[in-house]
């Protein structure tokens, strides 16, 4: 089976910036892959390379095994949803959605039928004659999506699709986009800097940092088993400890440590007296914040290391007032993940206090 989208050793330099450094990526048919990274990581450039809006200095872009890096965007058969949606303001919704078919010189009747069908798919049926300016942000995004998939492209590209929406609408649209993507079965590559968004929508997430992929994996694997400290810290909060041969050594990078242990805040729990656990530390609570579905507790060890722990929102917090001193630790050994320095396999291993 050929790979719908293959990025092979793509290298791009823009002015003084080496934006993409020999990146490689395979996307499977029907898969939803998200490029996740901070701004300046090169993720948008890579999306533009796939769309044909940006040329490559070296390397290849292959669609179904065919080299396309020399092909203009018009001939690539991709659909793109832009961050600002880029709807044509002087055309009706229907005309916008039918535009790719107009470009392909399809007859009027087919254009109308496809536009109606696509608008139905994104639940905007019957709004064909409205102007883009009269729609809400969420509706505009649906139109942009309908337009991008109207000509049945091989690949759908989403550039920061939620950036222009407010928080509530964002969550709703993430699920909605996922639904439509599944229904159409289209291979999709999205770009975002928002971890939740990436996790909600994607089958796999590719973390980008300074023009390289750091890790490409399923969301849960990324979260539980990051391969570098950067990934661990980028995907939510983490307690990091230096470790050597299964022994915790305080701060990451402490002398003698050969790896870094990662414990997520929800696995780092306050312990009752005498209870034994992995990665036990004694610390003084300095900050307790209530965040709705959970409490977030920050504590400091005598040697100044910060420990973060989150507890369910219905926990009795009597014992955890600011200033109280208690032990924190991880009750499940398998939840302690050790990042090995480069060249060694990352693996879970039991850590003794």
């Amino acid at each position: 089976m050929t790979v719908p989208v293959k990025i092979d050793q793509v290298d791009v330099t823009l002015g003084p910036n080496h934006v993409l450094k020999r990146v490689c990526l395979d996307v499977k048919a029907g898969e939803f892959v998200t490029l996740l990274g901070a701004s300046g990581s090169g993720k948008s450039t890579l999306l533009n390379v796939i769309a044909g809006l940006q040329g490559v200095d070296s390397g290849h872009v292959l669609f179904n095994g065919e080299n396309v890096e020399k092909r203009p965007p018009q001939k690539r058969n991709v659909g793109v949803v832009f961050q600002s949606y880029a709807l044509f303001p002087h055309m009706t919704i229907g005309e916008n959605v039918a535009f790719p078919l107009l470009a392909a010189r399809r007859p009027v009747k087919e254009r109308r039928a496809v536009a109606a069908e696509m608008l139905e798919l994104v639940q905007l049926g019957g709004m064909s004659d409205r102007m883009p300016a009269s729609l809400s942000g969420g509706q505009r995004q649906r139109v942009a999506l309908a337009r991008a998939i109207a000509a049945k492209p091989e690949v759908l590209l989403l550039d920061e699709p939620m950036a222009a929406l407010d928080k509530q609408l964002r969550e709703q649209m993430q699920v909605e986009i996922k639904r439509i993507q599944r229904q159409v079965g289209i291979t999709t590559i999205a770009v975002t800097h928002d971890q939740t968004e990436a996790f909600t929508m994607s089958d796999r997430v590719a973390i980008m940092h300074e023009g390289c992929f750091v890790q490409i994996d399923e969301p849960e694997a990324l979260y539980r088993r990051p391969v570098t400290e950067y990934v661990a810290k980028f995907l939510g909060e983490a307690n990091l400890f230096g470790s050597a041969d299964g022994v915790l050594l305080g701060r990451p990078g402490a002398s003698g440590s050969t790896g870094t242990a990662v414990i997520r805040p929800e696995d780092m729990q306050p312990l009752v007296d005498g209870e034994s656990a992995q990665a036990c530390v004694e610390a003084t609570v300095t900050l307790v914040s209530f965040q709705g579905e959970r409490f977030r507790v920050e504590a400091v060890t005598p040697d100044g290391m910060t420990v973060i722990s989150t507890l369910p929102g219905n926990t009795d917090m009597g014992r955890l007032a600011v200033g109280s001193r208690l032990r924190f630790g991880c009750r499940q050994p398998e939840r302690v993940h050790v990042i090995r320095p480069e060249g060694q396999d990352a693996a879970r291993e039991p850590v003794a206090a």
């Binding site: 769309a51 044909g52 809006l53 203009p72 965007p73 018009q74 001939k75 690539r76 058969n77 991709v78 659909g79 793109v80 832009f82 600002s84 880029a86 709807l87 044509f88 303001p89 002087h90 055309m91 535009f99 790719p100 107009l102 470009a103 392909a104 409205r130 102007m131 300016a133 009269s134 337009r147 991008a148 000509a151 590209l157």
Partner: protein, 275 residues
């Protein structure tokens, strides 16, 4: 408004006074011109004697006024058409050039504003002398007027091309549209308001232009500004000011109509945008 006023403090009164005097300089000659046109006498005098519209009637019935008017309309329309085509193409081309060459081309398109009309007219006249066939035609006149109008069209259209969202073009390209389709269906429709404004502006410039007509018209015909110019140096009759008044009124009516139409257009867009 209040901040502006208070920030200027004691400078405000003299500024308003000077501007009032300057404004009168713009307005009074026009007022006098209009007043003299409704005289019932036969002499171009201020104050006018009595009131009548007989000179308006005279002008409207006199082919020596109406033919130049028709010729001016035709020549201006042709020249404006050329200026709009080339000015719009230039404004769109500048968008696609590197910043360096864009600067050069932009300057080239604006330079005709600085061109001294008499010198340019002599050059065009030289072309007429070389090619006999041109001498009895309006070709050089129309080309010349088009060049004079072009910078105005270019400037007005450029103002809008700079505001085009570059993402629209990217979107169109990924949706499979080639550049002619993007031009026809995306860029030109969005530029239409400014193209029309540029055309109106360019037309009024050409319609009022007189120097090229002095040198380039075939013998025996006149454009309206030329007819006015010769009327002002020869027969000083109220017909001149009556004709001037009517042309100015016509220009103002067209302008008002245009302003009203574009406001109505904008309002319609707004109405659609708030359901």
């Amino acid at each position: 408004m209040r901040t502006a006023a208070s920030a200027l403090g004691f400078y405000r009164a003299p500024i308003l006074l000077v501007s009032l005097l300057a404004g009168l300089m713009l307005f009074v000659p026009f007022l006098v011109l209009v007043a003299t046109s409704w005289t019932s006498g036969g002499l171009l005098l201020f104050p006018p004697q009595g009131f009548s519209l007989r000179w308006y009637e005279t002008v409207l019935q006199d082919p020596r006024w109406m033919e130049p008017f028709a010729l001016s309309l035709a020549v201006s329309a042709a020249a404006t058409l050329l200026a709009v085509i080339f000015g719009t193409a230039g404004a769109l081309a500048v968008l696609r050039l590197s910043p360096r060459s864009a600067r050069v081309v932009r300057t080239l398109f604006i330079v005709p504003i600085a061109l001294p009309p008499v010198a340019y007219a002599i050059g065009l006249y030289g072309v007429n002398l070389q090619l006999d066939a041109l001498r009895s035609s309006f070709v050089t006149l129309i080309l010349g007027e088009a060049l004079i109008a072009l910078p105005y069209v270019f400037v007005v259209v450029s103002a809008a091309t700079g505001r085009l969202d570059p993402n629209l073009r990217k979107a169109a390209v990924t949706l499979g549209a080639g550049w002619p389709l993007i031009l026809r269906r995306v860029e030109l429709p969005l530029l239409i308001p400014n193209i029309v404004a540029g055309a109106v502006f360019g037309f009024s410039i050409v319609f009022d232009e007189v120097v090229l007509s002095v040198f380039l018209l075939p013998p025996g015909v006149q454009t309206l500004p030329l007819k006015m110019l010769s009327a002002s140096t020869e027969a000083f009759s109220p017909a001149l000011t009556a004709a001037s008044t009517m042309v100015s009124l016509l220009a103002l009516i067209v302008l008002a109509l245009f302003a009203w139409l574009s406001r109505a257009g904008a309002r319609r867009m707004r109405k659609v945008s708030t359901p």
